[in-house]
Symmetry: C2
Subunit: 514 residues, 2 copies
């Protein structure tokens, strides 16, 4: 150590670390939502029974296809289904019976136990957008997503008070080979956040990599006995289960890891144009998918998923935040609860190209519906733009702020003595005001949800400060959050082991971009 | 008729009229919403009983003030209340008993009977913003409202498919003397629209003018036997009933005209910071107000109103679209239904200075909540900006478009044979698509609500067309609507009589600007 430079760097580093310690921001994360309000029940008993009976008819008479998956066909045949070619026809009641071994709720563990989430029951766990190939922000415009973008989103998710979950493919890191990017994505979720996350589903081998990396992070025994990932298994609606998705499901189920089993519905294209018809198909598909997960491993944790959009019959484009999608989601929530399964739906859905008023109307429609419909796991709860093609930085923080309003609404109405506030009404009396009364002084700090983003200032102040719209305020917030980000601590040995795993895996195969 | 010019003008006029006839736009107005979905019931029976009991305690022990209104005090004394000074203490149960003579629903007649609305039951009637002194649009910015602005809003309301009601003071025509502007506003509603409207409440004499103008429009007998106006009577919360508002209420009630009796709540200032406490005060105030209306005339139509905002404890500004306001509204709806009274609340509320994402999030939160909480009359359902200080032209058409989504959601889920769509599911089968199937062909036109404003196009098309955000799309829509506006027909003699009434009234008093 005779070289001055490293010593200077060392001293500099130590000073920087001490400064960081002094100025470090504590990132508060709200506990997942435990609803103190009822669910909205849109279907009456008669309609529920019609849809349930029709779903059984669909499974029995039409059946579902398990594509390129002989072992799945064997499992179905052994369970009593009628298998002809790839078509699986399931006798009435069999799928529902098989679903009974799936847990009604489960804990997904995070590397920071304070961030564990319980998925099911009256709870709502919020996770960010999933899957877009593009990103957008005010400064850089719309562009293909990179690993750097991905890492930024993980940081923003970690710092968002109202997000309970780090998500999965927050955007596609298109600058990394397609057969290796899952490794970098998992590394980012594990290292840059301490919230729970999702595994890869794009190949069964990548699902296995996800399990293996979690075994490094949590310990192999822990992973086999606890759920540490919740991953997204889409059904190719109508009524088709492909081998890639089912192969990933099999890996996760065998390893006790959770899957969302989710029909991917654009109403009018992948499902009938009617709400009740769509619900029938959704239920049939979820029954078949969940039953299959239980054939792979009875007791494997799963979620009843429903991704719902409608088609614009003029342009063929998917539409979001529409009333028909809301009705499907409300109904699907009821069907999921009657199966005693956790429910996934809703999100910050919109068709808009910009984080403008259209985006906000559509997203607010869907976010509110998600809370009211009893959703337990809300993927896409922030950052969604342009029908899911784009993960938008500004919209991420805009939506994430609105998630706070869902927390407030879910509290319901407390009618204890403090809630009743009779002393305050007596103290103030006719014609007075409550600003200074004892009850207000004691309770105002926690009484009202408060936005960390939106503008409540008087017009003149707002104008003097630059007359900024929500988009501009959000640009500032993104910049401020990223500038103050501080990585959560991780055991250095664990980090080294994870990096070694990633390096070894990457070295073991050539790059693939398709 | 030897002068060529008038003949040319006549011919020209005739040709223009014929062209107008050929090209005239028919303005379709949706029937008021008749909900086929349940209301969202946030309070359980125990909490409802606590709040109802506490409201009776407030009326009995604290009481309400009827200010500068000796005849009101006499009515209360005769009804059995304890009157001391201006304070009226109402024995337990008396107010609720008096409310029983108010109708649970009533028809408000429009001059076009197709536009009549039934207020109450499971219905929802949508009316535009009320009261702002300012207007705003993209081209003219924020400015004091004029009569021309007012007339433009009435035209936009008339042309909005999803608006059932023309409203009242859509903006304040500040260029007209304050003691005469109600005449011009009523004339605009009567002449430029054929939808139902509201009367003036700023002085009892102006309420009487409203009744008199309606007697010209509808006939005096018709007005005495039918409700042709629904007007807004605010309570000065907490617990204060002023003589101007009560004087107007008295005029309307005596003439069988409807009033919304509405606490004006900014939580934390005019009511306690707790939801249950606010509901207690709201219920006490509405009980006293509705009971008073029935003392004036048993059977007078009234609406249980709740205007709810919260205060931002940092700036003192009112906030909108917040979870606490939603909880109060959900609870107030339940309390109104237990009184068998129509319910008014919600609207396109927001605190934003621009029709941006903040405005849309906040408004969507409140509009959705309005539908789900069982609101029967939604004032402010479009056009609200900046805490109600501004009526915004672009936001008017943006919100009005979203009201269509409420219509779609209210339809609920139809589970008849067409709704079940089993033939479609059979026809398409696993792996197919529904775009061309018989069920889709037969039903796609009415299957999905469709925006008349928002953009669903692919990114490339949208970009080629100028990459317009919602604000720009709305500017175009405002311009297009106003350019194609066509006045509904009116009997010329009626119009002359109305104009003569207005002219005579205006001539009878000097201008007043305060």
């Amino acid at each position: 150590m005779t070289d001055a430079a490293p010593r200077r760097r060392n001293r500099g580093g130590g000073g920087a670390a001490r400064r960081a310690e002094r100025t470090s921001v504590k990132f508060e994360t709200a506990r997942y939502i435990e609803r103190n309000i009822p669910n909205f029940e849109v279907l009456n008993e008669e309609a529920l029974q019609i849809i349930e009976a029709n779903a059984e008819t669909v499974l029995e008479e039409i059946g579902v296809n398990f594509v390129d998956n002989p072992s799945a066909l064997d499992l179905w045949r052994n369970a009593g289904a009628d298998v002809q070619g790839e078509r699986v026809r399931i006798p009435r009641g069999l799928a529902r019976k098989l679903c009974e071994t799936a847990p009604s709720e489960f804990t997904q563990h995070a590397r920071n136990p304070d961030r564990n989430v319980v998925i099911g029951g009256r709870n709502l766990v919020l996770a960010p957008i999933y899957g877009p190939p593009f990103v957008r922000d005010a400064n850089g415009g719309r562009r293909y997503a990179t690993l750097e973008d991905f890492q930024k989103f993980v940081k923003l998710g970690y710092m968002s008070k109202w997000l309970h979950h780090s998500g999965g493919t927050v955007c596609e890191p298109t600058d990394v080979p397609v057969n290796k990017r899952h490794l970098d994505m998992l590394m980012a979720h594990m290292e840059l956040s301490d919230k729970p996350f999702m595994g890869s589903v794009t190949e069964p081998s990548r699902a296995q990599d996800s399990v293996d990396m979690c075994s490094v992070l949590f310990g192999a025994d822990f992973v086999q006995n606890n759920t540490v990932m919740t991953s997204l298994i889409n059904i190719n609606s109508p009524l088709t289960f492909d081998d890639v998705m089912m192969g990933s499901l099999e890996v996760y189920a065998r390893n006790n890891q959770a899957c969302i089993i989710s029909p991917f519905i654009v109403g009018g294209a992948m499902a009938p144009v009617s709400v009740a018809g769509t619900l029938t198909q959704v239920l049939a598909e979820v029954l078949a998918g969940v039953a299959y997960s239980q054939l792979v491993r009875a007791g494997a944790p799963v979620i009843f998923g429903a991704f719902v959009s409608s088609i614009d019959m003029n342009s063929g484009a998917p539409t979001f935040g529409t009333p028909e999608a809301s009705l499907v989601t409300y109904g699907a929530g009821q069907l999921a609860r009657r199966l005693n399964l956790p429910f996934r739906s809703a999100g910050s859905f919109c068709g808009s190209k910009l984080p403008d008023a259209q985006a906000a109307y559509e997203s607010a429609n869907s976010l509110n519906m998600g809370l009211m419909s009893g959703v337990n796991f809300m993927l896409h709860s922030c950052g969604w733009l342009e029908g899911g093609l784009v993960a938008d930085f500004e919209k991420f923080v805009m939506d994430a702020d609105q998630l706070g309003a869902l927390h407030g609404l879910a509290k319901g109405i407390v009618a204890d003595e403090t809630g009743q506030a009779m002393d305050a009404i007596r103290e103030v009396g006719p014609g007075g005001h409550y600003l200074g009364c004892a009850h207000t002084q004691a309770n105002f700090k926690t009484a009202f949800w408060k936005s960390d983003l939106l503008d409540y200032k008087p017009f003149e102040t707002w104008e003097e400060e630059g007359a900024r719209d929500t988009y501009k305020l959000a640009t500032s917030r993104v910049e401020n959050l990223l500038a103050t980000y501080k990585q959560p601590e991780m055991d250095p040995a664990t980090r080294e082991a994870l990096l070694a795993f990633v390096a070894e895996k990457k070295a073991s195969m050539p790059d693939a971009f398709m």
